[in-house]
Symmetry: C2
Subunit: 449 residues, 2 copies
């Protein structure tokens, strides 16, 4: 067994904090240089741990960082994927400490990207460094593909993978960008939902109009937008778009049983997030709704006057961000077309709509009986004294489907986050325990291959 | 007949531009000092035209500026009301020139407050100055009550009027804060709708949640908000709140005829504002819907992620600004309670709502046969060669009802704006012609009393 120890932990965390200080928010164009700075930082970190062939591959968006170490003759090759870009940090005022000034408190490291995915990604670099220090070599060949556009749904990574199938050939793809069931209970996700994200813009006039002079007489863009949006769901939580559920498999009893086995404490979730009720499709459990069923959620809405006090206007424009999670055989392109058709049908007279598409990713399913996944579960057990469970994750990592299909290699989603670590929200953090034990687990896993 | 002439016009406009440079936005607390600066500027302007008893009256909010000139023995007393505060200027990027850098182009003065109400208010100061220059005295006694909270619905003016009924005693109240029917066609508004403004906040969780892990399983604050908001109107444009129309008089044939006589060019309005259709209560004409019928409009909506790109969250909070225009015997307090009751009934499980009330103003009706109003119409005719029409204005000036009731004096709404001058919107402006002719009209009116 490899042990990180206090001295190494302190040093590793110091390095990780440097990484987290870089506001590499891929979705905001004003942070373009910061994103590149994070790529440069990572390339230097690869150099320091003795990786070869380090390359910053420029794309139409943010760069991909590649590195490898291929000196373990006759041993399997592990391709490690991760991402160095992060979500936006707003609303900043809800952070207890600034999002890009990493702070350790209560055994947690707080910063945007701490768990998603800089902290989890860094585990692999440090595992390799530790193996090198202890053994002078690595028990496997390693290839890193780390991108800066995961939070944008990886628009430029699929062509890179498709162009480099030989260079990227591997026996397994290892990704740490998912979560435990809860503290102490590791999990290897075996199903990821697909994704489709859009922005809907509604216009009724070329300007805002005075509500005293025109209110009640002209179309109101906010009224039109909410009429469209409210039509997207039935009252019972089902998505009302015609054909939305086409390709969604009826869950088998076996699957429902497997999903039900994942521990879930409804009262705990409710109290933690201040929920007064759960909601969604009534025929399904919470775990099913968030794991194996498709969804349509409005992620944001904006229109008219939003400042302090009031402004008596009839808004001329309003917009909303919408995203879907897809499962089974649902095709993102087809779902997009059906939503477009639904919106057209429900657009009130006097309004014009535009539906812009951001993300399109197919759902993916992995086989928990695959030896690579089984060995990963044993590695967890060696460190955490309990084998991994195999949950169906509700989130989407669009690139997983591409890796599995193009490289024809089993993908292992060996996550070290916790579901309560506020990823995509204020006060994101990462448990120090999982950082340290994560490094030890990866060392064990590599040795076992 | 008094004539302003080119030289005076140039000087007066220079002064008005100084006034317009002060961003006296009453609804934004960061402009509190600017609002006070506008009050100071106005007090100095009163001094320069020879007014007496100039006072800046502090209130719990922004100050009231008082001034008088009471040397016209045996002549009537005119109380002039106006406001020196302005609407917020956002969205600033839609202004062709900055809102607080006044510019003259195409015979119009562009700036926030140009027509609402600094420009119109300034007409009275300059009319008095001109009369003084020409005659060495004034043909009437004058009292000015100019407030800095009209855009907040005058929260502190009613107690001031009620406390000072003797000091404010007058034969008529003169207000220039309304519009012509169109260029060349003056109007004296004889009916103002009441107003009720609110902010609705919906909460479903104490934080935004990741839509991949929680979407489809927990309440979404934006979904809840739009469900509530969409329930406020029937599909035919009628307000769906139970009891909303109580106290709304069925329009008589005579009133409908009077309203129909106000010229209105639907195609022109549509093309000017880029509308593809009109909307609202189907049983009524556009002029009726915007003049004598009550309305409920959403003025703004906000919730979740609104930045560039996307963020896959389930929003935990969302809010909307809502305002009503009221007519007849509708009571703002009662309407508020009915809306609150409706919202409670339509709030989805899992959401908690809060409805904050901002503005409450009763509707008001004036008699076009009153001699003061008739003389005002003749003054318009002397300058514009056409008598005024008497439209029912859709907007609200909450204080008019208080003046009429407490001071028991006829109110004359002698406006000089145009309905196309973008008040409460970007690129607000004021026709120079109406500024100059407005001064001449007021001079004529004062002489006629």
């Amino acid at each position: 067994m490899y042990k990180v120890g206090a001295q190494r932990q302190e040093q590793y965390l110091k390095e990780l904090q440097e990484f987290l200080k870089i506001p590499s928010i891929s979705s905001l164009s004003r942070h373009k240089e910061d994103v590149h700075r994070a790529a440069d930082w990572l390339a230097k970190a690869f150099e320091e741990i003795g990786m070869d062939n380090i390359k910053i591959v420029e794309t139409e968006g943010h760069p991909i960082v590649y590195a490898d170490w291929l000196h373990a003759r006759d041993k399997p090759t592990v391709l490690i994927y991760g991402h160095y870009d992060v979500q936006p940090s707003d609303p900043d005022e809800l952070w207890e400490t600034p999002p890009f000034e990493p702070v350790i408190r209560d055994g947690k490291l707080f910063a945007r990207g701490a768990t998603d995915d800089k902290g989890q990604l860094f585990i692999h670099l440090k595992a390799i460094q530790m193996l090198m220090e202890e053994d002078g070599t690595l028990p496997v060949n390693v290839k890193f593909v780390i991108e800066g556009e995961e939070e944008l749904a990886s628009p430029n990574l699929p062509p890179f993978i498709e162009d480099q199938t030989e260079k990227l050939a591997c026996d397994t793809v290892l990704i740490s960008d998912t979560s435990f069931i809860e503290k102490g209970q590791p999990a290897i996700c075996t199903s990821l939902r697909g994704a489709l994200a859009m922005e809907l813009t509604v216009k009724t006039a070329n300007t805002d109009l005075h509500s005293g002079s025109y209110g009640g007489g002209v179309p109101n863009a906010v009224h039109s937008l909410i009429a469209i949006l409210d039509s997207l769901h039935h009252k019972d939580g089902k998505v009302a778009v015609e054909g939305f559920y086409q390709g969604v498999p009826e869950p088998t009893e076996a699957l429902r049983k497997e999903v039900a086995e994942i521990p879930f404490d409804e009262e705990k979730v409710k109290s933690e997030f201040g929920l007064t009720a759960m909601s969604g499709e009534q025929k399904f459990t919470f775990q099913e709704r968030t794991g194996i069923r498709p969804t349509l959620e409005i992620n944001g809405i904006t229109g008219g006057f939003q400042g302090e006090g009031l402004k008596t206007i009839v808004p001329g424009e309003a917009s909303a961000k919408i995203s879907c999670r897809l499962v089974g055989e649902q095709d993102p392109g087809q779902v997009y077309e059906r939503i477009q058709k639904h919106i057209d049908a429900f657009t009130p007279v006097g309004a014009t709509v535009q539906l812009q598409q951001y993300i399109k990713a197919k759902p993916v399913s992995l086989d928990s009986r695959d030896p690579m996944i089984q060995k990963a579960s044993q590695a967890y057990e060696a460190v955490y004294n309990t084998p991994a469970l195999f949950p169906k994750e509700g989130g989407s990592i669009p690139i997983v489907e591409v890796f599995a299909r193009v490289l024809e290699a089993p993908v292992v989603l060996m996550g070290f986050g916790l579901p309560t670590e506020n990823l995509h929200a204020p006060n994101e953090h990462f448990q120090l325990e999982n950082f340290t034990k994560g490094i030890e687990t990866v060392c064990y896993y590599f040795k076992s291959l």
